[in-house]
Symmetry: C2
C-alpha cells in the first residue's frame, strides 16, 4: 500500500482537474465510482464484497480516503487488491487533485474498475467531482429512513443507492416504503439495491449491476 499526504493546489479548480482525470479514465476504458455515505454505513464492507465477487474477472484498484488512518485500506489490501491510501489530514472530503495525485502512484494500464471510497460524511463530499462515472451512496438501515430528505444533495447526485445492513431491519423502525417514496421525489432515476454484507442478501444483484457497467464502459 502507498500512502499519500495531500496538499491542495488552490490555483486549479476541482472541476478542471476532474476533467483531466476523466479524459484519462475514458482513454483507458476504466469504469470509476465514488462511494459515499455516513461513517459506519458499511462502504468498506460493501467494497470487500465487490472485490470478492469481481476480482477473478475484473482488474480492480481502490483509492481509500480517510482523515488519518489506514484502517480501511488495510482491510482492502488484505484481499490482494492495489490500494492507494489518501489521508486528508482532517479534511472532510476527497477532491479531484487527490485522485490525480493517486494516479501517479497507481498502475492504471489494464485496469477495468476503479473504486474511490470517500471520507465518511453525508454532506461535504457531495460537492466534489472526483472524475467518477457514477456516485454510489451507501445508506445503512440503522441510520433511519429520514436521511435522504435530511441530506438531499448526496442522494440527488448519486445514480445508485445501496441500502445496506437489511438483515437488521427487524430491529429498527426503518420504513422501506417511505425510503422509496423519498428517493422517487429526490431522484426518480436512482437505482436502489438492498443488500446485507452479513447474510449476502442482494450481493449477486450488486455484482451483476457493476459487471454490466464495467462491460459497458469497455465497449464505449
Amino acid at each position: 500500500m502507498k500512502q499519500i499526504m495531500v496538499k491542495k493546489n488552490i490555483l486549479d479548480t476541482n472541476d478542471q482537474i476532474a476533467k483531466t482525470n476523466r479524459d484519462l479514465l475514458k482513454e483507458k476504458s476504466i469504469f470509476a465510482i465514488n462511494m459515499l455515505g455516513s461513517p459506519g454505513a458499511g462502504k468498506t464492507s460493501v467494497l470487500e464484497q465487490l472485490i470478492k465477487g469481481l476480482k477473478s474477472d475484473v482488474n480492480m484498484a481502490v483509492i481509500e480516503g480517510d482523515l488519518y488512518t489506514t484502517k480501511d485500506a488495510d482491510r482492502i489490501e488484505s484481499h490482494g487488491i492495489d490500494v492507494i491510501q489518501v489521508n486528508t489530514g482532517g479534511g472532510c472530503h476527497l477532491d479531484a487533485s487527490m485522485i490525480q495525485t493517486s494516479f501517479e502512484h497507481l498502475d492504471i494500464e489494464g485496469l477495468d474498475f476503479l473504486v474511490v471510497e470517500n471520507v465518511g460524511n453525508l454532506v461535504c463530499p457531495a460537492s466534489y467531482d472526483l472524475s467518477e462515472d457514477m456516485k454510489v451512496t451507501v445508506l445503512s438501515v440503522t441510520e433511519g429512513n429520514d436521511k435522504p430528505l435530511k441530506y438531499p444533495a448526496m442522494f440527488q447526485k448519486s445514480e445508485l443507492l445501496i441500502v445496506n445492513k437489511v438483515d437488521l431491519l427487524p430491529h429498527t423502525n426503518f420504513c422501506m416504503d417511505e425510503l422509496y417514496e423519498d428517493i422517487k421525489s429526490l431522484n426518480k432515476d436512482m437505482k436502489v439495491l438492498e443488500v446485507s454484507c452479513t447474510t449476502g442478501q442482494g450481493i449477486p444483484e450488486l455484482m451483476d449491476y457493476f459487471s454490466n457497467e464495467i462491460q459497458t464502459k469497455k465497449g464505449e
Copy 2:
C-alpha cells in the same frame, strides 16, 4: 417552532462570537451542550429521552441544526419543548453566529439547560465552538468501534461519549473493549455511557449525569 435561515457574518470570527454567547450563558447560569455524531447515530432519540426524563424538573430549550428540513425539530417540539430550527442551507456544521441568532428568538430567562443538536457529521462540527459547556458525541454501535480512531477530533474534544443502540450489540461485530481502549488513548478523561433508547438501558445514568451538570452550573 421558529425557523431561521442563516447567513454567516464573515467579519466576526467564530471564537469571538462564541465568547459573547458563553458570557451570556454564564450570566444566566444555563448549562449548554453541543450534541455531535454521524447521521443516524441517534442524537435526536437520545435528546427525546433527555427531555422526557428532565422536563418536569428542568427548564429546557433546544436548537436544532439541519441542512434543510425541520424533521428533528418537529420531533422535539412534539414533547412541548421550545425549539429553534437552524437551517444551514446545505452547510455541514453549525457555528457560533447561528447560536447568537437563535438567542434572539429564544426566551432564555429562567432556562436551565440548552441543547444544541448539530448537523449529522463526524468531521466538520468538531472545529466550531458553539459556546457550549460541553461537547457530547453520540456513537451508535452499528457504526463500528473503529470510528474514534478514524475521526479523532470529535472524540478528543468531547467530554462525554454516549454509546447508543447497545441493544443491537449482538447483531454487530462492535467490540466494546477496543472502543474503551481507543477512547483511553485519545481522551483519557472522557466519560462513556452506554445506552439504548429502545430498551431504556443506561437512560437513568444519563439523566443523573446531566442533572448533576445542570445543578453544578446553577451553583457556580
